[in-house]
């Protein structure tokens, strides 16, 4: 059984401009010790899905339905107090900008100790020792001194390491990382991704890595979910989705990547148009206004997520053979170039 299973999750928010359908029928699964990559552009619903798993979207203007099963127990049905004990201890989350995500007025050691003491009855001294150990494990030099540092005194890469240390210090079963490297330089990004991989191997933590960068996904994920407009477009093992993509949106994403290997003189192949507003999602298949292969049925009927190869599901009306043909064409173009 999967460690975390999200079943038909719907999250919408009532706002002044209308109802925002942030998550519209999403089903995902994360296995123990494995990495699920969730890729999508802004407004795809990936962050809201993660925040909902953590229980951080229980706001007065939010409507949430579906199930989020952690080891078989539904987190959505859990009372707030009980959920608070899960949050941070069994499921931890790190965010995009480590400078604004750490409290600027408290020392790092204090913040990590607080995380520990929120869930376990340990003395200050013991907690500090654990915090020190955690900082060492994420590769921060002079860890003992760093406990008394403030966040603004560290570089971006160091700060993100601190966030990771703080998230993992209690040994959670799942780590959700929401765009953890987007704000970092590319060489630092490589370090952080390496670190997460190492820690996962060491502690067996499942990782949900949310990003808009397909390259990052390709290098770190075991399974991939491609999200668009609050829905899942394609879901499957890494090699399945990246090497044999079967959704026009995935093709578009792959083709619009400028790469260090494609030919320079050809223009890039962007996806026409812009991501839709989540208040007025296009009818039927949300991607149809931008899809080069749109058919008559697409605006009428929303495609269901159906299996193609084992473990690989796609939500598209195109017939399977057509999809496979186009998909391999797209991939060979990329490889050839």
């Amino acid at each position: 059984m999967a460690l975390l299973e999200i079943r038909d999750l719907h999250v919408s928010f009532e706002t002044r401009d209308g109802i925002v359908h942030a998550v519209d029928g999403v089903s995902l699964a994360v296995d123990r010790g494995r990495t699920l990559g969730v890729v999508g552009e802004s407004g795809s619903g990936k962050s809201v899905t993660a925040l909902t798993v953590m229980g951080l979207t229980r706001l007065p203007n939010a409507t949430i339905s579906g199930e989020v099963l952690l080891d078989g127990v539904d987190l959505l049905a859990m009372p707030t107090d009980e959920l608070r004990r899960v949050r941070g201890k069994r499921v931890a989350m790190i965010f995009q900008d480590p400078l604004s995500s750490l409290h600027p007025l408290y020392k790092i050691g204090w913040q990590i100790v607080e995380a520990i003491q929120a869930h376990e009855r340990v003395s200050e001294k013991a907690a500090r020792a654990r915090a020190l150990e955690a900082l060492r494990e994420v590769g921060i030099p002079n860890a003992a001194d760093r406990l008394s540092s403030y966040p603004h005194e560290l570089s971006g890469g160091m700060r993100q390491r601190v966030m990771i240390a703080m998230a993992l210090v209690l040994g959670p079963e799942i780590l959700i990382a929401d765009e953890p490297t987007t704000a970092l330089d590319v060489t630092v990004q490589a370090q952080i991704l390496d670190l997460v991989r190492e820690l996962q191997a060491e502690h067996g933590t499942a990782v949900v890595l949310i990003t808009h960068d397909l390259g990052v996904i390709a290098e770190t994920a075991d399974h991939v979910a491609v999200m668009y407009a609050g829905r899942v477009a394609e879901l499957g093992p890494l090699t399945g989705v990246i090497d044999h993509p079967e959704h026009p949106y995935t093709w578009g994403l792959l083709q619009s990547l400028p790469s260090t290997e494609a030919s320079r003189s050809e223009p890039l192949h962007p996806i026409e148009g812009s991501p839709p507003s989540l208040i007025s999602v296009p009818s039927g298949c949300a991607f149809h206004p931008r899809c080069p292969y749109v058919m008559e049925v697409c605006p009428r009927e929303r495609p269901a997520l159906l299996p193609t190869t084992p473990g690989h599901t796609v939500a598209c009306h195109l017939p399977v053979p057509t999809r496979r043909a186009i998909g391999s064409e797209v991939r060979s173009q990329e490889a050839r170039a």
Binding site: E41, T187, V216, L253, L257, P258, L268
Partner: protein, 359 residues
Amino acid sequence: MNGPFAQRPAIAGNGGAPKQAAPLVAVESLEKLFPLTRGVFLGGGRGQVHAVDGVSFDIPRGGTLGLVGESGCGKSTVARLVTRLLEPTGGTVRYDGKDITHWKARALRPLRREIQLVFQDPYSSLNPRRTVGAIVGEPLRLQHIGSRSERKTRVREMLEVVGLNPEHYNRYPHEFSGGQRQRVGIARALITTPKLVVADEPVSALDVSIQAQILNLLAELQHEFGLTYLFIAHDLNVVRHVSDRIAVMYLGKIVELSPAEELYAHPVHPYTEALLSAVPTVETTAREQLRHRVVLRGDPPSPVAPPSGCRFHTRCRYATEICSAVEPALIDHRRGHLAACHHPLNTGARTAALATRTA
């Protein structure tokens, strides 16, 4: 004002443009020091930040120079020095043959028509209280070009050129998406028919599919209007697509300067090698070589206290004793491919020996 947007003869191709004409931009030993105001008394600086420390390059007319580096390398400062938003503390900036290094604001004003900037953040670079039409038309207004109705016509033309609906003249920035706002920024930059466009990370804040749209647009516009670009980015993939030559910066200095293709095929400087291998990619072959990735240790050192000798030596896996002692010179390794390194990669033994001897 002449009628519609004047067509300039399209310069033949990018890359290797015949260099008969003098380069549009020529920068030599450019330097910018910022005093650290930690001291209490005026100017009692406790040291200085060498944001830009001896940078030289040319940009030929109609060509594109890509400037790549990580945060703190000084590339944005270079952009501001070239456009004279800042005054250099050393070196020279030549534009169209004229030495504009120390020109005052009044002398620079007419130049502002010819040199324009596109900024990174489409959310904060547009005034939210003004309509898109007013924003795009502002440069014309400031330069006193044309009457109000002529300006309006020109603005509508420009909106169309960048792929926006001219009917949206009276809309506000918040009514547009990020990609569309960036198009507005580009329209604003191009409305005075500039010769030089400095783009400071123009696509970094955009989604991947929109990035591709904007990059295509920039390439089209360059071809159509004969623009010269200085394109600044931290993403090596992005800069490759639009550049003829690429300069890699590290801690205020250029460590490698080469024709675009060459850089990716045969990087010479270890930092470039690390940058290239750090970029995560979808390509299967590259993924399989993940084991061979060069992962740099540590963080980029602070520009306040740059390391001695070669600034990269603290993170370089090929570093030897000479690297911490002597700063390597930027020398030509092969047909216009320059690098500053004591142990250059991908070069013949001869150029390598030359490098160590000159150093």
